[in-house]
Amino acid sequence: SQTIHQWPATLVQPVGSPLSLECTVEGTSNPNLYWYRQAAGRGLQLLFYSVGIGQISSEVPQNLSASRPQDRQFILSSKKLLLSDSGFYLCAWSVGGTNYNEQFFGPGTRLTVL
């Protein structure tokens, strides 16, 4: 069966510090991968998605970036965090080849920027 992991689970970082969140998927090949952000009391905002290694699409302009160095690994990064980057970050995957099929979510990372 497929599983999706995210780490760390929680993170407290000062403004201006770098960020690296990691997401890995097991039990499937060539998945579509997604990064979402959920601000407090808000819905989900799609940040990035990837249909293959090295292929990243950005949905919103921001100081975050994403990379996919391996088929089942998706990394969210920032060189300098802003206060507004605080939120709950969710990684998700779906079956490759389609982008309208159900997505499966990881447990999330709670990021607090102070």
Binding site: L44, L90, N99, Y100, E102
Partner: protein, 112 residues
């Protein structure tokens, strides 16, 4: 513009009462429809999905949803709510060639 709306931001029901959460979408093409549930501090779990066929879809945890094309709706229902159903519920729509769009969510509170 394509959109998904969940008109109710917050709903409170008593345990044992019935529940209906509303979802409306605006898409030109036939959509794929989903309901997810999110417990506090957790990821999202898929409750049910509709791709085609029978417009009444059964999901996990006793939930069901009905697709009504004429009303562009996909409302989620449960005949008897349990305290453990308290969570945030998201409707989502997928259309061929485009990414998912999630609704803003409805927070469900359950009174004992």
């Amino acid at each position: 513009a394509q959109s998904v709306t969940q008109p109710d931001i917050h709903i409170t029901v008593s345990e044992g009462a019935s529940l209906e959460l509303r979802c409306n979408y605006s898409y030109g093409a036939t959509p794929y429809l989903f309901w997810y549930v999110q417990s506090p501090g957790q990821g999202l779990q898929l409750l049910l999905k509709y791709f085609s066929g029978d417009t009444l879809v059964q999901g996990i945890k006793g939930f069901e949803a009905e697709f009504k094309r004429s009303q562009s709706s996909f409302n989620l229902r449960k005949p008897s709510v349990h305290w453990s159903d308290a969570a945030e519920y998201f409707c989502a729509v997928g259309v061929y060639g485009q990414n998912f769009v999630f609704g803003p969510g409805t927070r469900l509170s359950v009174l004992p």
